[in-house]
């Protein structure tokens, strides 16, 4: 059978994935819980969801030896158990602790992977807080369950939680019903979901009991215990078309009206009318024939409850690579077609082959689209954490902040979502720490007391745009300029007539701050320059705009996927190269006469700054190719100005061709050592071109500009 060690490794990988999912789910549930608490709405289902999440995490962390997470889970589970069993009331203070725990889980999981030190101090603080959360005293009242003629066999299969819910329902004056229904095992998932949805509007489902006696191989008979404030007639009517037999569970004896505690649906009658008058006997014990499986989902196959699979993204990368290789096979295939076509007597075969080739091309494109689609996840995943941050920081800073999120359903590459969380979080921290004023200050300038941060995302062609906009005090341009002067980033002359846009772009330079003292949450050394670098690594662009006193808007434009990149095609000595667009600042005409020698390398002066240049003809060993005809005023070719991580250089090319989206394909083992190229790509015109690695080329250009490099010539 399978190898134990590797199965365990796989189980451990699954553990990380599942734990992350659980933590994300907890984050969502806790936020929803917060909203319910504010509206005074019932929250028992959510509390139980959170409990179950923590319960599962506890089991997992125990198995996989994550001891810190285990101890947090252990204490947290106790508090949540008290909450869900009604022994502890849900207060904002308790919820704060739960919020803190969910935050800490995220850090602990990272630490567990060995990617960060263990936050032992925070764990100790949380454990203390959980220990002090306390229980308000056990529920000592006589069990109201005794008032109902409950089958002891039913009680015997209820979990502690289900029993608690049953008790709570009876205390709130609800009636109990037994719904008997038969499902086909084939279609039970959808049919049960229908029943749940319908029943939920009338009350709470306590449990589902499969009945063994009446079950054939294909059917399953269920007894569903429903607690509802409505009458048997109402419930039976509501579920009539689902072939459900409704039976009210009788009370032991008529009782005065039970206390109605917070029941938003008032019962139709406090005294229960005689049971037999309400439900006709044939309704209770209807013949089994009439209880056939719901006629839903004919031909439905045997499906499991979950229709999703979890896939390591590297597997998708691998698939994408294969698609890239197939694309190159396709190109070669077309060459064969062309050769055949030229041969006498082979026309017919050539035409057939051409047709096959086209079909191949079409399916390949579909396959590529399919793989890309699998990688896509909603951006909402990155936004969920933001809501927690906003809640936490605004409380810490005594500021009121509303977070408005739109476009959370916008889809983007899974890898990008993961990497976006930190930059977004940093931007939100900046907004709350620096931009949004205190309620008092806001009142003084006539703004509403609560500040607003709007996060808006939308798709724009092959890109996703994310805007983070706040209505805070905006960016004080004078302070930005002053700070830049102090740091020597600009001269006094430049400062005098620096355009607005350029002033704002100074914000992304390392070290710049408009604050004198570092704030609690931002200004700890991670600046907007880091945000910009992280975004740029993913091929994204960041831009800031805003009005002093009115607000700030930061716009991030990301490629929709990392598997496809946008390039500018350039030609050098008749060969085509692809330059990734995010690395390009601009392209200008090249004028030979403006080239100067400086410090042993060729430079141009561009807007007062010295720009080292590198002639790609020379670098790639195409010196022997016929020179470009020089235009009348000394112009020949173009300079593509690229910048990566603040390092800039200009690259001289012959022609600028088109923009294109390409699937980048690695060069394979033999060429892995070649510097300056990120991979190869099919260019769409049946040719394969090399994709340059701008970061490496810039490094080389700055180190030994213009020096011919040995491997490049081997690539033509």
């Amino acid at each position: 059978m399978s190898d134990y060690g590797s199965s365990l490794d796989k189980a451990r990988e699954d553990f990380f994935a599942e734990a992350q999912e659980l933590i994300d789910g907890l984050g969502r549930d806790v936020l929803a819980l917060d909203a319910r608490l504010k509206q005074n709405a019932p929250a028992h289902e959510l509390i139980n969801d959170v409990f179950r999440g923590v319960h599962t995490l506890k089991g997992l962390t125990g198995l996989f030896g994550a001891t810190l997470m285990l101890s947090v889970s252990h204490e947290l589970e106790d508090v949540l158990d008290d909450l869900r069993l009604g022994r502890l009331a849900l207060s904002p203070e308790v919820l704060d602790i739960v919020f803190g725990a969910v935050e800490l889980y995220g850090k602990l999981l990272i630490a567990e992977r060995g990617q960060a030190p263990e936050p032992t101090g925070e764990v100790r603080a949380l454990l203390n807080a959980l220990g002090n959360a306390g229980v308000q005293g056990a529920d000592a009242r006589a069990s109201p369950i005794a008032r109902y003629e409950l089958d002891p066999a039913l009680l015997g299969v209820l979990t502690e939680y289900e029993e608690h819910r049953l008790r709570a329902a009876i205390e709130s004056g609800a009636h109990l019903f037994k719904l008997r229904v038969t499902f086909s095992l084939m279609s039970i998932d959808t049919a049960l979901e229908d029943l749940k949805q319908r029943a939920r509007t009338y009350g709470e489902i306590i449990t589902y009991l499969p009945s063994a006696s009446a079950t054939s191989g294909d059917d399953i008979e269920l007894e569903v215990i429903l607690a509802s404030p409505d009458s048997a007639v109402t419930v039976a009517d509501a579920l009539a078309d689902l072939s459900v037999a409704v039976e009210e569970i009788a009370r032991a004896q008529p009782l005065p009206a039970p206390p109605r505690m917070g029941s938003r649906l008032s019962p139709t009658s406090s005294l229960l009318p005689p049971f037999a008058d309400l439900v006709a006997p044939q309704g209770i014990d209807a013949p089994r024939d009439s209880l056939g499986p719901p006629s839903l989902a004919l031909g439905a196959s045997l499906r499991s409850v979950s229709q999703t699979v979890r896939v390591d993204i590297r597997k998708l990368d691998n698939l994408m690579n294969i698609v890239g290789e197939l694309a190159i096979v396709r190109t070669s295939l077309l060459e064969v077609v062309e050769r055949l076509r030229l041969r006498a007597g082979q026309r017919e075969i050539a035409t057939d082959l051409q047709r096959l080739h086209r079909a191949f091309e079409r399916h390949l494109a579909k396959m590529q689209g399919g793989i890309l689609e699998v990688r896509m996840v909603p951006l909402g995943q990155a936004f969920e954490k933001l809501a927690r941050i906003v809640r936490q920081l605004s409380r810490e800073h005594d500021k009121e902040v509303n977070l408005v999120v739109t476009g959370a359903e916008t889809e983007i590459d899974k890898l990008i979502v993961e990497e976006l969380s930190d930059p977004l979080m940093h931007m939100i921290r900046n907004s709350i720490d620096h931009a949004i004023e205190s309620p008092h200050e806001r009142a003084r300038v006539g703004k509403p007391a609560a500040g607003t941060i709007v996060v808006n995302a939308y798709q724009k062609g092959n890109q996703v745009v994310i805007e983070v906009e706040d209505d805070g005090r905006g960016i004080d341009e004078d302070r930005v300029v002053a700070s830049a002067l102090r740091l020597g980033m600009i001269t006094h002359d430049e400062a005098r007539d620096l355009p607005r846009r350029d002033i704002l772009s100074l914000l992304f330079r390392p070290g710049l701050t408009t604050r004198d003292a570092a704030g609690d949450t931002s200004g700890r050394g991670v600046g907007m320059d880091v945000v910009k670098t992280n975004i740029a690594k993913l091929g994204g662009i960041i831009d800031v705009s805003g009005e002093s006193g009115i607000g700030t808007k930061i716009t991030i434009t990301m490629p929709i996927t990392l598997a496809i990149i946008r390039v500018l095609m350039v030609s050098v000595a008749g060969r085509i190269y692809a330059v990734p667009l995010p690395a390009i600042e601009e392209a200008i005409a090249f004028d030979e006469r403006l080239v100067r020698a400086y410090d042993g390398r060729e430079v141009l002066t561009q807007r007062g700054a010295t720009l080292p240049i590198c002639r790609l003809r020379k670098l790639f060993g195409h010196d022997a190719a016929p020179a470009l005809p020089t235009e009348p005023r000394g112009r020949a070719g173009f300079v593509v100005i690229a910048s990566v991580g603040g390092r800039r250089a200009g690259f001289v090319v012959d022609k600028l061709l088109a923009h294109q989206d390409i699937v980048i394909k690695s060069l394979g083992k033999t060429l892995r050592g070649v510097r300056g190229f990120a991979g190869a790509a099919e260019l769409g015109d049946q040719r394969v071109g090399l994709v340059v690695d701008m970061a490496q080329l810039i490094d080389d250009a700055l180190d030994y500009s213009g020096v011919h490099h040995q491997p490049a010539g081997a690539l033509s």
Binding site: Y4, L8, L60, D81, L185, Y208, P210
Partner: protein, 132 residues
């Protein structure tokens, strides 16, 4: 080879149990097992009629059909009643465990557990049902 049905709503817990039961290095009487996984009580009800399982391992706290209901189902169904059942749950839910045993579970294992404990619990449960 013993056929084991594992009913558990956590994927990594399922994977962990499967790794232990399918371990070819296990030299005890349990040997290498064939494992069928069910992520929910309903899925278990689908799997149960398909083949005779030599053992069922189930969690208790699951949505919809919980582990207790599943045990009752097995114990009251003519074809399944002799199936040994091992319950896995956390120590904290003692009432749930007591109920499981009252319903006819043959063994209980508290999470977290290691490979030896799981294999031992399986063997004991089979012995208790007179299966081996």
């Amino acid at each position: 080879m013993l056929h084991v049905l594992v009913v558990e709503d956590s994927a990594s817990m399922r994977g962990y149990i499967r790794a232990i039961l399918e371990d070819a290095g296990g030299s005890d009487a349990l040997g290498v097992c064939a494992v069928t996984l069910a992520p929910s009580g309903f899925e278990a009800m689908r799997q149960l009629p398909r083949r005779a399982f030599d053992l069922m391992i189930t969690d208790i706290n699951m949505t919809d059909i919980n582990g207790l209901e599943l045990i009752r189902f097995v114990r009251t169904s003519q074809h399944l009643m002799a199936t040994p059942v091992v319950v896995i749950s956390t120590q904290s839910s003692s009432q749930d465990v007591a109920r499981a045993m009252a319903l006819g579970a043959d063994g209980f294992l508290a999470k977290p557990f290691n490979a030896e404990a799981l294999r031992a619990a399986c063997l004991c449960a089979r012995a208790a049902r007179g299966g081996g």
